[in-house]
């Protein structure tokens, strides 16, 4: 009887001690530092910050350490911390055209103003286990050119839009709803959908985005461009009345350009899908852009028949903290409900037996 007895408090205390012990592992080995996690598991930190919707590398590293590398558990830890923080206000929208890029590529054009900047990526590596990493030792540092911080880096999409080939970027200065303070309601507008997708589980968005490529709501995508680098965060304090720079953060942005046949009102043109993530997270940003575009199916009269186009289905199931909790709550005791079911199933079976017993002689007589 793992729950029905007294002593639950002591058992729980022991369980807490055990998990803390297992987290530390072999005491003969050095303990991981938060700096090591930040520097050497940086992409994990990026994911935890993105889906935890809190930009703080040290806290994300702490969450990863505490969660023993379980990133969904780490995201949960960061979210639960974030939720109690006081809110000072909203930053002004990021100006990614003034990003200091580490990487910027377009798949739609061979060359673009500002050039193709490959930057750090696994894209061109051969996925061969590098056994030299198993040994300790210093690695050579990579040569870098100084970044051109003065030059704005125009978005490929805006160049296309000037020609009317791509729909204009949506102009909407209305303050967006805040998904972390108000419940999701349907139909959701695009700012709300994008918030949801940005916090959404990378694996879930990846699968949904993939499904659109396999015909479940195909939206004919081209990566107009993907860029990763540092951008300034601006804030207008009430008492100052003008914008000041409060931080610089790293983001990955994906502008997807999608075919569109046009409608009675609109001539054929390309349409947009958008993805944004903290840190370096191209898979997430691309998948998000695919799903964003798919969710515009109804708006663009393309129907909403596929899973990725189904707003309620996508937005209600994208959050891995919600999903992980509810899936795992099945571990909690349910024996009252199970007892109710036992009583009903036994009664139903008894009635079937009774009917069988009553009808059996009749069946024989008829034969």
């Amino acid at each position: 009887m793992y729950v029905a007895v007294k002593g639950g408090e002591a058992a729980i205390a022991h369980s807490l001690d055990l998990i803390a012990d297992r987290r530390r592992g072999d005491r003969g080995l050095d303990e991981l530092t938060l700096e090591q996690i930040d520097q050497q598991l940086g992409l994990a930190v990026d994911r935890v910050m993105t889906e935890g919707s809190c930009y703080d590398r040290t806290l994300a590293a702490l969450a990863i350490k505490q969660a023993r590398g379980d990133l969904i558990e780490a995201i949960f830890l960061l979210r639960a911390y974030r939720t109690t923080l006081p809110r000072f206000g909203d930053s002004v929208p990021l100006d990614t055209a003034h990003m200091v890029p580490e990487r910027r590529i377009s798949a739609a054009f061979k060359d673009v103003p500002g050039g193709q900047v490959l930057g750090p990526t696994y894209d061109y590596t051969h996925r061969l286990l590098d056994f030299s990493l198993a040994a300790a030792g210093e690695r050579p540092t990579a040569p870098t050119a100084p970044a051109d911080t003065a030059q704005a880096l125009p978005h490929v999409g805006d160049i296309l839009a000037r020609e009317g080939l791509l729909e204009p970027a949506p102009a909407n200065d209305a303050p967006p709803q805040d998904l972390t303070r108000e419940p999701l309601s349907f139909p959701a507008d695009r700012p709300l959908r994008l918030q949801n997708l940005a916090r959404g589980d990378e694996g879930f968005l990846l699968a949904l985005g993939y499904s659109t490529q396999r015909g479940y709501g195909n939206n004919h995508p081209f990566v107009g461009e993907i860029r990763y680098g540092r951008v300034a965060v601006g804030f207008v304090p009430e008492e100052l009345g003008f914008e000041i720079e409060i931080a610089e953060i790293e983001v990955t942005e994906c502008d997807m350009v999608n075919q569109f046949a046009g409608s009675a009102e609109v001539p054929p043109q390309f349409t947009r899908g958008y993805g944004l993530a903290f840190g370096h997270a191209e898979r997430k940003a691309i998948a998000m852009a695919l799903v964003d575009r798919a969710l515009r199916g109804a708006e663009l009269s393309e129907g909403a028949d596929s899973p990725a186009q189904d707003e309620e289905f996508v937005l209600a199931h994208s959050d891995n903290v919600e999903a992980s909790g509810f899936v795992q709550h099945l571990k909690l005791p349910h024996y009252v409900d199970f007892q109710s079911e036992l009583v009903v199933v036994r009664a139903l079976r008894a009635e079937v037996e009774k009917r069988r017993a009553e009808t059996a002689p009749l069946t024989q007589a008829a034969e």
Partner: protein, 280 residues
């Protein structure tokens, strides 16, 4: 006597910040004003997982104070893991007195049961709710179910119960049995066994229901009629056992069944541990 505790000063009182509490308090008042209607609220991430009582915890955190005595039960028992965890949480962040005695409690947070001991005027029963929408398994879309509630169009629920009668000769729903509140909204009583449904009807206690993951709060004010759905020729009925509690001998309480040996020998004991201990 209740156990006393000291608040951990590292946290806001009852964990939530004041602005969040106000938002939840406003939602609770709306829920009381429109009994059985699910009020959307800006549910927050809590330090316990979604599906493990975050809705009930947020409701309790928004109402609890220094004058309260808190009881937490899961499956009717004060000592189940989840009940222990939630009680420890409030002892730590609210320094609130805790008890296992139903009559001593001013707030009772529960998962899956209503205590056997009748509740009193002034007590608040806080339910943890996994799926607040009673029509959800019949219609997965929120936009659709919201419209059905608006139009008071509950035929789909009647059809579902009737199909059960047609197939099995009786309504086979055993827990989370739908109710209608004050003749208007159809409501999920949370996954309590239908055995507990009659206790919701005209209860002197205030019932608050919190669904954290689904971000809904709803309520049944004291003395409000709560009717379990049924048909004239198939009236609502509750579970019964031929056995009595092996510990206290009760024939009136909800019994848990335990398998005590590998021959499948059964033992039946009260699910409500406080009620059972009080009778022994």
């Amino acid at each position: 006597m209740p156990d006393t505790h000291t608040q951990d000063p590292a946290y806001n009182y009852a964990y939530l910040d004041e602005q969040t509490k106000r938002m939840i308090r406003r939602a609770i008042l709306k829920a009381v004003a429109v009994p059985g209607y699910q009020v959307p609220f800006g549910g927050r991430e809590m330090p316990l997982p979604y599906g493990w009582g975050t809705g009930g915890i947020q409701v309790t955190a928004a109402i609890i104070g220094q004058a309260d005595t808190l009881k937490v039960i899961d499956q009717g028992a004060d000592d189940t893991t989840n009940a222990v965890s939630i009680r420890r949480f409030f002892a730590r962040v609210a320094g609130v007195a805790t008890t296992t005695a139903t009559p001593e409690a001013t707030i009772i947070q529960t998962r899956h049961r209503v205590p056997e001991t009748p509740l009193m005027d002034g007590q608040i029963l806080v339910f943890q709710v996994p799926i607040p929408e009673p029509l959800r398994m019949l219609e997965p879309r929120e936009t659709e179910t919201r419209t059905l509630h608006a139009l008071q169009e509950y035929g789909v629920m009647q059809v579902s119960l009737y199909e059960s009668i047609a197939r099995h000769g009786r309504i086979s729903k055993s827990y989370n049995y739908p109710v209608q509140v004050n003749g208007r909204y159809i409501m999920s009583p949370s996954p309590i066994p239908k055995f507990d449904n009659p206790k919701l009807d005209r209860s002197p206690a205030l019932q608050l229901y919190g669904a954290g993951r689904e971000k809904r709060i709803y309520a049944v004010p004291p003395y409000t009629p709560v009717k379990s759905l049924d048909f004239d020729d198939h009236p609502f009925e509750i579970e019964s056992w031929s056995e009595c509690c092996a510990l206290c001998g009760s024939r009136e309480s909800f019994l848990d069944e335990m398998i005590v040996d590998d021959q499948g020998k059964r033992l039946f004991v009260c699910s409500d541990t406080d009620y059972c201990e009080g009778r022994r």
